[in-house]
Each structure stands twice: as C-alpha cells, then as structure tokens.
Amino acid sequence: MDRTPVIVGIGLSDHPKAPHLNGVQHHVLAARRAIADAGIEKASIDGYVNAGGGGGMMVDDAVTMAEYLGIDHRYVDGTMTGGSSFEFHVQHLAAAIRDGLCDTALVTYGSDQLTRMGRSLGTGGMHRGQQRVAGPSGYEAPYGNSLVGSYAMHAQRHMHEFGTTSEQLAEIAVGVREFASLNPNAIYRDPITVDDVLSSRMIADPLHLLDCCAITDGGGAFIMTTADRAKDLPQAPVYVLGAAGGQTHWNISQQSDFTSSAGARVGPIAFEQAGVTHDDVDLLMFYDSFTITCLILLESLGFVPKGQGGPFVAEGHLKRGGKWPLNTDGGGLSACHPGMRGIFLILEAVRQLRGQGGEAQVPDCEVAIAAGSGGWLSCIGVAILGKEHP
C-alpha cells in the first residue's frame, strides 16, 4: 500500500467580496467544492483540520466545524499559527496519512473579513480603547503599533543593513498585480507601476498602501489522501514532497532578527525531504501580506543570499515569465486576503501543478513551493509540492 501523501481535491468559496456568506458558510462552500473536485464520497473523510479564526469566537474552530460539517473524524488538528497554519496542516497531515492515523482528510478555511469588518485589519489598532490586555501583548498594548507597523520594522531594518530600496520592494507588488490582472476573482486587477506604489500613501514607514495586502472575503479547502487511493480519483494527484514549519517568536516584541525568519531553519528541512533543489522549483507561492514578507521569505528560504533579494527582485525574476514566478493567482497583495491566506498558496500551487492555471499557467510547472508566514514573520510553514511521485 502506497501511503505517500497527496492532494486530490481543491475548492475556493466566493471572493473577493461575498456578502451572501458568513465565515462558516465560506468553510462549507469551499469544502463542498473540494469534495466535488476530488470526486470522493463525503462519508470517506476521516480526518478534519482547520485553523479557525474566520468567524469570531468558537464558531469555526476545528471541533465545532467538524460537527457542523458532519465529519466523524479519527484525526483532528486545530493548529493555528496565523496565516501559515495551512502549511503546518500539510506537514501534520503528511505524517498522519503516512502513519495511518487517517486515510482521507479535509482542511477548510473561511472568512468574511471584508463584509464583517471592512478594511480595518491592518491599521484598526491591535487593542481598542481603554482596556487591560493580558499576556505578552500587554507589553505592546500601550504603544499604538499596527499590524502593518510590525512588518514595516522588518523593512526598515532590511533597508538599513542591506540598502534595500522602496523601488525594489515595489517591484514585488507590480509583478503580483500583473498576475492578478489575469484572475477574474482578484479584488484589484488594473496594472500598476513602481511609481504607483511609491506615490501611494505611507501607512507605516517604509511601507506604502500598495506594499500592503488587500482585505477580502474568501474561503478555501483541500483534500489529502494516500497515493494509493488517488489512483481511483479523477484529478492527477499532487504529491507532498516535503513539509516543515517552525517559529522564532510570536509577538513582534520578541523578533530577534528583523531581516530573517524561521524559514532559514525549516526551509532546508523541507528541501532535504523533497530531494529537490531551489533550481528545481518552478513556482513560488509566498505569503505576500506585505512586499517585505516575500523578500524575507525569498532570502531566508535560500533562493538568494541574505541581503541580495532587493536587486534580484528588481531584475524581474519573480514576474510572469521570470525564473521564479511569484503568486500566479494575484496573491494577497492584489487578489485574495481574508485574514489567513496560507490555504490559497496551496490551492494555487495545486492548480498550477495540474496545468489548470489558465492564462497564468507557468509552463512545465513540476515543482512548487508554498511558504506561509504567520503572525509577524513569526511562524513559517513550508510545503514543497510536485506532480511526479517522489
């Protein structure tokens, strides 16, 4: 029996704006579409995984959603590492499926962020009004930082140490927008230039509005099973070649290196498992919460030496037709970011590896990497996916 873990079904709910769906309904719609895509019976699902976080307190956590969906699982995982949760889920499920803890698992995500809360995610204030804040974030609560500000402090330090420029960071937003223009469901589709990014208003120095991800609604789901079972299913399986995750901190006050990430530690683990090199990778699906997030992932995962990401990006290598096209669905920067984007990295990687990328299809796409960043470059999860059996 070949228990090599594979992804056999993917589903997106509706985005970028879906006022007809609440967070739970995003989970459900994405799950139904993933089940249909996989061509499996719902009753065969014996593993369920989600990160919650999209519908308020205790509405869409793993056990509540398993009940709602009617999944009597024998393997459950509610790991929440922020936006990278779903790369950690792939890591956990790969081991669970190999070990026989479950045979067929469903992962879901859903969020009505845009409809429910508007565009305040990044600058609405982490802690509102007069209140007492428990735990480590109490050490940050009095100071008025924003989510954008935490990433901006990385960009500021990267610029200081390596001479990285706003123009170089802007190239990332420009390249991802070109892919968004090919995605009818992207929230922003009009092409932009480096000047557009630099002339957009400053949110938290040195990050401009167009260095920041969109706020959208959205949901996603995927189904993992064994290579053995995939033989009877309609879609070509996508193989999990390697998966690893780790963290350096959670709260921004404990970031020890503002120019790197845990990717420097876990990236080599994933590549070694996968038995591939950086040059074998055809597609980068990086968490683009902000332009600087991609640059630090690019460097810390070893695609370019530390400090050389800026000039490398400016040469166009991450754009359409470049050596390592980045975020072919238009990314969080321009297409879909409902709060925790990591699942969409996996879904688009699967689409591309199947050759279902449409106009944005990367030619001969055989190996893709999904790299999620959760928190404030805190928890980095990496999944290397391929179309050939390892």
Binding site: G129, Q130, G144, G149, F258
Partner: protein, 143 residues
C-alpha cells in the same frame, strides 16, 4: 541605578497591560521611574519581557534595574491608526530599543519629531503614570 522622569497625566485613554503576579513589579517600578529587565541567577541570561522562567535555562529569574538608555534597533512611523487615543498623536514612531544591558525592548516615541528617529539613535527612557500600579515606559532622544 537610575531613576527617570515620571510624567503625571490627568487622563489615560490607551490600553494597558493586565497586572499579574509576575509582571506587577515591572509595571510598579516603571510607575516609580525605574526600568527593569530580568537576569538569570543560574546562567546569567538577561531577558525582556518578564517571565516566570529564564528562556535559556529554565531557572527563576531575578530583576535587574537598567540605566534606561539604549539605541534604536529598528522603528516605523505609524501614519494610520484607528484607535482614537493613538489617532490623536499621529504620526509617531514605534521603536525597538537595544538597551545598554543587552535586552531589546518594545516602545514608542510619541511627541518626538519623526524625522529625528533613525536606526542607531541614542535614546533614554521616561515614564507616564498611567494608573496607580502602572507606569508606561517611553523613549526620547538623548540630547
């Protein structure tokens, strides 16, 4: 070591930490004009924020009073913020400060011209008396 200015205010409208039995001494010291970090009696490791164990060796840390001086390790200028008490102070710098004693602390520099803030800038602490049991450390350039 060193006691720094404590600014008294009539009203406080920003969020504050919840006081517990580990952090109470830290916030009370700040109320009195002193900035504390922790130092491990077993391995010598120094850390901020205060915890119930040394993150290096697991022993119970002691308090270490600092000189309240350091340099800006990195920063951002917040130009958009939805919480009213912060919105009223825009733009302002949020900073990570490398203390002379080693640990790096999180803070802010409200009221300081943001054009003056730079990585490597020498800064010193001052405090705002936010509540009877809580002083909030802030940073300003050393002139």
């Amino acid at each position: 070591m060193s006691t720094h200015e404590v600014v008294e205010v009539e009203e406080w409208a920003k969020p504050l930490p919840q006081i517990d039995n580990v952090n109470a001494e830290y916030w009370q010291a700040a109320r009195e004009g002193r900035l504390l970090v922790q130092q491990c009696p077993a391995c010598g490791h120094r850390q901020w924020y205060p915890r119930a164990l040394c993150t290096e060796c697991g022993a119970e840390p002691d308090w270490l009073e600092t000189a309240g001086r350091g340099t800006v390790h990195t920063f951002t200028v917040i130009r958009q913020q939805g919480t009213p008490a912060f919105k009223a102070e825009l733009p302002y710098a949020v900073v990570m400060v490398d203390l002379e004693e080693g640990p790096r602390v999180f803070g802010a520099m409200p009221g300081v011209d943001v054009a003056r803030v730079a990585i490597g800038l020498p800064v010193e602490v001052y405090f705002v008396a936010a509540a009877d049991d809580t002083g909030v450390p802030y940073w300003r350039p050393i002139d």
